[in-house]
């Protein structure tokens, strides 16, 4: 028969796990036996060893990166949602400013990372402001899009029921806006992480990004991989948390939750 059968649940869980183990083993073997230059690619065991032994040294940097990312995310989210709501409700302001924000979004803002160092120096302020700068605007746009996404028929219904503007906002617009806002928050978290790491590359002062650059210049590849491992973990945990939050909130609201983790338009650099 030409129809492709669906794979069983067991197949869908065991195959990738087996595959992962296989890849890790192959990687380890390859480095051990010199097929891969250990100066290019640290073996998994070496990375874990270094991660453990240098944990004391790495810890303040892990903390710094995590803390800066979280702080950026919180500030961007709160600020972004507020500005989005403001744009929604103040028509003049929106008409004047919205096109500029959209155009602004098109600029490759990441290119300005060194400029933030020029402005604020080599410190946490420049890192936070750069990361906030990148992650703020997508949240604004997502919030605005979400608030505008309310079904016009529902709005008409509310008008006929003489609902107050506050009621319209909290009871109707906001719930309808949640899926798009959550989408924006996912992008915001991604960009917060990106922004923090890029600025750590550029400020070379603190954080896991700093460690990675330092390790690369000293050819300490296993330290580099250890740091990369930590960055991956932090990224997974933080993004995963937002993802989980999104699913929980959407389920609570009874909104449709797609099976796919990524829509084609979602960016995760």
């Amino acid at each position: 028969m030409a129809m492709l059968k669906r794979s069983s649940r067991a197949q869908r869980i065991l195959l990738p796990l087996a595959n992962c183990c296989g890849i890790l083993l192959l990687w380890e073997y390859a480095v051990l036996h010199g097929w891969i230059n250990p100066l290019s690619l640290a073996s998994p065991s070496a990375a874990v060893k270094v991660a453990a032994s240098s944990f004391g040294v790495l810890f303040p940097h892990i903390l710094a990166t995590t803390y800066e990312t979280l702080l950026t995310f919180v500030l961007s989210s709160v600020g972004g949602i507020l500005l989005g709501a403001l744009l929604m409700h103040w028509r003049m302001f929106r008409l004047a400013v919205y096109p500029s924000i959209v155009m602004f979004q098109l600029l490759p803002k990441i290119a300005l990372a060194p400029l933030f160092v020029v402005w604020f120096g080599v410190n946490i302020v420049s890192r936070l402001s750069f990361a906030g700068f990148i992650s703020f605007f997508p949240i604004v746009l997502a919030t605005l899009a979400g608030l505008r996404a309310t079904d016009p028929l529902v709005l008409k219904l509310c008008s006929s029921l003489r609902a107050s503007p506050a009621q319209m906002f909290w009871q109707i617009r906001l719930p309808y806006a949640v899926p798009l806002i959550m989408s924006g928050l996912k992008v915001g978290m991604t960009l917060a992480i990106t922004g923090v790491i890029v600025s750590e590359f550029v400020t070379v002062q603190n954080g896991l990004g700093y460690i990675i650059v330092l390790a690369s210049s000293n050819m300490q590849i296993d330290l580099m991989f250890a740091a990369l491992g930590w960055v991956s973990l932090i990224g997974l945990v933080l993004y995963g948390t937002v993802l989980l939050l999104e699913r929980l909130i959407l389920m609570r609201l009874g909104a449709p939750v797609t099976g796919a983790l990524f829509q084609p338009g979602e960016v995760v650099p």
């Binding site: 195959l15 990738p16 590359f201 990524f262 960016v267 995760v268």
Partner: protein
């Protein structure tokens, strides 16, 4: 309904075209006014209130910087954008190839899909220095880093596009005895093209980020390198001028992809 009444946009009467402009002129007043206000305000702040140039160069200074360094900026900009375009094409090839493999083989799909999902989430931006270790400071390291960042949206879009093929179309192919490969080439791939362009637009953005960041970390030329040099000398006006050039080049690529999307949609789906 006869086929002769197929609507086209060409040949609107002149009066309707004028009305179009009039309506949109009103809508454009506020945002344009806002932008003009910002630029004028920046100019005034910078000159009259003597805000240091490092912090806020007057827009006129930025324009001067653009003019003065035009050849250098164009050279480095062109260098960077060439790498961006190359990275985009490679990403397309890699993404579509992987999506094809995943679609044709259920086993490989099950084995590798979760891995790619995880890879997609981790902050690959942190890998920039690693690519320098591997490939040195030349264009190859920036290119491969950019591809590493940007093939994921293509992969996601291609897979979504392939899966989107309606159950009926898939059944039709089964009924005709088409092989998986024939189904992919004749039906799934054309159907997926619009989605692919959406993915390509996202990918363009990521290619730009990848190449520029690569140039930040280590390079001897390119707009990213130029920005780092200018920033080291606190030449804010030059940095902003570089941003303008990078944006123009970047938007051209993005615009080309968008134009391609519109063309394909129109030609294929009418």
């Amino acid at each position: 309904m006869s086929a002769e009444t197929f609507p086209t946009g060409v040949g609107l009467p002149a009066a309707r075209r004028l009305g179009f402009f009039r309506r949109h002129a009103d809508g454009a007043l506020l945002p344009v006014g806002f932008i003009v206000l910002c630029i004028a305000g920046a100019e005034i702040l910078a000159r009259i209130l003597a805000v240091p140039e490092v912090l806020l160069p007057p827009p006129s200074r930025v324009l001067t910087a653009l003019a003065l360094n035009a050849s250098a900026l164009c050279y480095h900009g062109a260098l960077t954008i060439t790498q961006v375009v190359a990275a985009l094409f490679i990403s397309l090839a890699v993404g579509i190839a992987l999506a094809t493999v995943f679609t044709l083989s259920r086993v490989i799909n099950d084995m590798f899909s979760p891995l790619f999902v995880v890879l997609q989430i981790i902050p690959k931006i942190a890998l920039a220095p690693l690519f320098v270790v591997w490939f040195g400071t030349g264009a190859w390291s920036h290119l491969s880093f950019a591809v590493c960042l940007s093939f994921f949206p293509i992969l996601t879009a291609a897979r979504a596009g392939f899966e989107e093929t309606s159950a009926d179309a898939a059944r039709l192919c089964s009924a005709l005895g088409a092989t998986s490969w024939q189904t992919l080439v004749h039906v799934k791939l054309p159907m997926a093209l619009p989605q692919l362009f959406v993915g390509a637009k996202v990918s363009t953005t990521l290619c730009i980020i990848g190449v520029v960041l690569g140039e930040f970390v280590s390079a001897r030329a390119g707009i990213g390198w130029y920005i780092v040099q200018a920033a080291a000398l606190s030449q804010t006006a030059n940095v902003l001028a570089s941003l303008v050039v990078l944006s123009l080049f970047g938007l051209s690529v993005y615009g080309a992809v968008s134009a391609g999307e519109i063309l394909v949609r129109r030609r294929m789906f009418g």
